[in-house]
């Protein structure tokens, strides 16, 4: 590939169109990726990134358009054929077997090409060392951190000859430091001639890493640019269009009157692959937002379960509201005491998919006078749902629409609105803007700030460190079920919180 002047592009997509019933996922999309190029594919949720990716990887057959590989037209029928061409893909959600070793997992993914296990293990070790991704082939997956699991997925692609590596939102599960390490690996790969398609919505990262970017909006290419020459704002504009507010800075506040106090909370996880909580202590003050950062699977679920009341804790005093201990109270009793809760799963916990928005308003709003002597006040409930929809600009056909018919962002606005309209004194929100488009995320942030300014205590647990820095007044991190120091946001840096997310804080001192 030395005579670069006549080398055709590694991959060319021409007028790719994919129509699903009721939606055009990809509308005549063109894309060019050169050898050794790191190309970003940007766009909001639902812009068509995933579909396009699946077309390239042979998971989805386009209705129209053609795919050229090294200048030759090809039809990629399935992932096996894609791999044969030299296309590797790292999905956002890993598909690894917890109880098998790294080598065994990779052997399973490769199928017949795996060869015998000892020599595969040797190749894994070579590849991981070459690209600066330390990985022990003999370890079982459940002992690995999320970052290490991602390495397994990447190494799986690299043990075979690779010409194009596709990464879907790879940094969403990493600490800022891990992101840097990943970028070193990717740059090295690109120098060797491998093309990389990097899918993300984190604009700073794209600007730092990628040579070129293609931006999708509503299934169409809305722009192409060299990210290094653009500002994050200008790229965001191409993603969302002109009429959506992008983001704002919110003034930080410091308060002193605690509402929720957690002290010495210990809990053994119900899940054999879960994370136990160790001596968790923090407090959330009325009128402030406390942000807790952390990579998924570090005890967030267990902490949130204990706080919501779904799992009651043995030491009742470990969770404390101003009027007393609540560790033994049910979710309903905690709600009666002023708590509201926005869970991570919108469909299936936050809302019942198969029920109308009206019924979903009743789901947690039943304590606010919607039930009269055991009977549902249908009129009031409908009004309540209507108010949520109007006030939080939920796009829907009305109060009778089923929760499952709403987009993720709209449903999240509904759920957050439902909780906020009950005037809680404490709001606990898990990953409030996960998978939500920029417009909805901004609306959600505004609603949270408004509630804060009305004097409510707010706890936000999120994997998105940028979001936490934007809205939190104080910030900390959780790692291996332990909580880091908590500092006022202006007094810390993304780097420091990143180190906390990796477990680098004093509390972890040898506790045998």
């Amino acid at each position: 590939m030395a005579e670069a002047h006549i080398t055709p592009p590694r991959l060319t997509l021409r007028r790719i169109t994919k129509i699903y019933p009721g939606c055009v996922a990809n509308d005549s999309i063109d894309l060019n990726i050169e050898p050794a190029e790191i190309h970003a594919l940007l766009g909001e949720n639902g812009a068509g990134k995933s579909t396009l990716m699946k077309v390239i990887y042979g998971l989805v057959k386009p209705d129209q358009g053609e795919v050229l590989w090294d200048g030759m037209p090809v039809e990629i029928k399935d992932p096996a054929q894609a791999r044969k061409l030299g296309i590797g893909m790292v999905f956002q959600h890993f598909s690894l077997f917890e109880t098998l070793t790294v080598t065994e997992n990779i052997a399973l993914a490769l199928g017949d090409d795996a060869g015998d296990l000892p020599s595969l293990a040797k190749r894994i070790r070579e590849v991981s060392e070459k690209y600066g991704m330390a990985l022990n082939p003999d370890r079982e997956i459940h002992t690995l951190s999320v970052g290490e699991r991602q390495r397994v997925e990447i190494v799986r692609c690299l043990v075979q000859p690779i010409k194009l590596l596709i990464l879907d939102e790879p940094t969403s599960v990493l600490t800022p430091q891990e992101v840097e390490t990943l970028f070193v690996t990717l740059r090295k790969l690109a120098e060797e001639g491998c093309s990389i398609l990097f899918i993300s919505h984190k604009l700073d990262e794209v600007r730092a890493l990628c040579h070129n970017a293609t931006i999708l909006r509503a299934g169409k290419v809305s722009g192409e640019c060299k990210p290094a020459d653009e500002s994050s704002q200008s790229i965001a504009r191409m993603m969302v269009g002109d009429d959506t507010p992008i983001s704002t800075d919110y003034p930080k506040v410091l308060r002193e009157e605690p509402f929720l106090q957690v002290s010495g909370l210990n809990r053994v996880s119900d899940d054999p692959f879960g994370t136990d909580l160790h001596n968790i202590s923090f407090s959330v003050n009325a009128g402030e937002i406390l942000g807790i950062a952390g990579v998924a699977g570090n005890g967030q679920e267990e902490l949130l379960g204990a706080l919501s009341g779904e799992d009651q804790v043995e030491n009742h005093d470990a969770i404390h509201f101003p009027h007393g201990a609540v560790g033994h109270l049910s979710p309903r009793e905690r709600r009666a005491a002023g708590m509201a809760f926005v869970p991570e799963e919108r469909l299936g916990r936050g809302a019942v998919p198969d029920m109308s928005l009206k019924d979903n308003a009743l789901l947690t709003g039943f304590l606010t006078g919607l039930v009269n002597r055991g009977m549902i006040a249908h009129g009031k409930t409908r009004d309540f749902a209507k108010q949520i929809i109007e006030r939080y600009k939920v796009k829907t056909s009305g109060t009778e629409a089923h929760a499952e018919s709403l987009s993720g962002g709209n449903l999240q606005k509904f759920i957050i609105g439902r909780e906020i309209m009950q005037n809680p004194k404490l709001l606990i929100a898990a990953h409030p803007t996960w998978g939500v488009d920029i417009g909805a995320a901004t609306a959600i942030h505004k609603a949270l700030i408004e509630l804060r300014d009305k004097g409510a205590a707010i706890l936000v647990v999120s994997e998105d460190i940028d979001e936490l820095f934007q809205i939190s007044d104080r910030i900390g991190a959780i790692c291996h079920g332990r909580i880091s120091p908590i500092k006022p946001t202006p007094d810390t840096t993304i780097n420091e919180v990143g180190r906390w997310m990796a477990g680098d804080f004093a509390e972890v001192e040898i506790k045998a």
Partner: protein, 368 residues
């Protein structure tokens, strides 16, 4: 080749059309079956479905058969909404009959307006207790209610047979396995003279209304529905799962028990070994055929009662075995389950492909 394609959103229209399709397919299969047996299909279907209800007596008898099925099915709609699979309506019905009979026989010399309510209440308690056993096993030991309720059906049947051969046997009954006839004050009065239709049908209709209100208007019913649709949402909202399981099972058990005591204190007037020809099982089919909706269940009950009567009629007029009833019930359930696929999937015949894909295919061929 025919392909099933997910609809993305489930079809409400199909949810109500599916029972209709199932009914039509059952009729067609039934007709084929009759033809194979050497009967004239139309005449046989006439005997099965029209003849039983062509006079007042027949209509009254239809109500007699419908009452216990309706009571069981409407109760089952409550538990099934909570996704608690009570297969034990039959056993709960038998226990209702057994305990109700024991009460009626204990009060055989008593007179007064309170005797019948006491007997009915005893029957409801009997059914509720039997369902309560399953609730206890489920909430305390996480025992699967499908298995426990089925097994409890057999225990209830054997208890009843033991009682009717032993402690409850009529001392003056020449050793027949039957109880003494209940006293008049323990019998449910008939509605129309000269027929067997009794107040039990009114209880059943009342139960339909109460369950309708429970499920559509009350917060308790709302919680039961949420539990069934999405248990983790119910937990997060703070609904008490175990309590809801208990309540739903007790309601369904009590209604099945009422159906049982309605049989012994109604058309039978005494305890006999066979008080139910599988009403409790038929009610499961009825509940699903009626889409767990009160009106749907009412219609499905009438159909099921008709099949029971038609089976008897076919036995008398056409000399066909009474197994015909079970056969038609089975076909109905089978076709319903098959048609329910259409709620979430549509049928596609891909032979009619779009020009776009054809063009793509042509391009690829040219490239190769």
């Amino acid at each position: 080749m025919i392909k099933l394609e997910p609809r993305g959103q489930h079809s409400k229209l199909m949810a109500w059309l599916s029972p209709v399709f199932a009914g039509v397919l059952t009729l067609i299969s039934g007709a084929i079956l009759f033809a194979l047996l050497g009967q004239d299909p139309l005449e046989a279907l006439h005997t099965l479905l029209i003849m039983p209800v062509s006079d007042i007596y027949g209509l009254a008898e239809l109500c007699v058969k419908a009452a216990p099925i309706l009571l069981c099915a409407i109760g089952l709609s409550v538990v099934f909404k909570a996704k608690v699979w009570n297969i034990g309506a039959e056993g709960q019905l038998l226990m209702g009959g057994l305990i109700g009979s024991a009460c009626a026989l204990a009060l055989i010399d008593a007179e007064g307006f309170w005797v019948l309510p006491a007997v009915l209440l005893a029957g409801m308690v009997g059914g509720a207790l039997w369902a309560g056993l399953a609730a206890w096993l489920k909430t305390s030991f996480n025992a699967n209610e499908i298995l426990t309720t089925i097994m409890l059906n057999y225990i209830a049947l054997n208890l009843l047979i033991w009682a009717v051969h032993g402690p409850l046997k009529d001392p003056d009954g020449f050793n027949f396995p039957e109880s003494a006839m209940f006293s008049d004050s323990a019998l449910i009065p008939t509605l129309i003279d000269g027929t067997r239709i009794h107040f039990g049908m009114l209880f059943a209709l009342l139960a339909v209304v109460v369950v309708w209100v429970l499920l559509s208007r009350s917060f308790l019913g709302f919680q039961i529905k949420v539990l069934g649709l999405d248990a983790s949402a119910a937990r997060l909202a703070g609904f008490r799962e175990k309590r809801l399981v208990w309540i739903a099972l007790l309601i369904s058990g009590a209604l099945a028990g009422l159906a049982g005591v309605g049989e012994v204190a109604g058309p039978l007037g005494q305890l006999v070994p066979s008080i139910s020809p599988g009403y409790g099982y038929a009610a499961i089919i009825v509940a699903f055929l009626g889409r767990l909706h009160p009106v749907g269940i009412l219609l499905a009950t009438l159909l099921m009662a008709l099949i029971y009567m038609g089976g008897e009629m076919a036995q008398i007029n056409l000399g066909l075995p009474v197994a015909l009833t079970g056969l038609f019930q089975g076909m109905l359930l089978f076709y319903l389950l098959a048609c329910d696929v259409l709620i979430n999937f549509r049928i596609r015949i891909p032979a009619l492909s779009t020009p776009a894909t054809d063009k793509l295919a042509a391009n690829q061929e040219a490239a190769n």
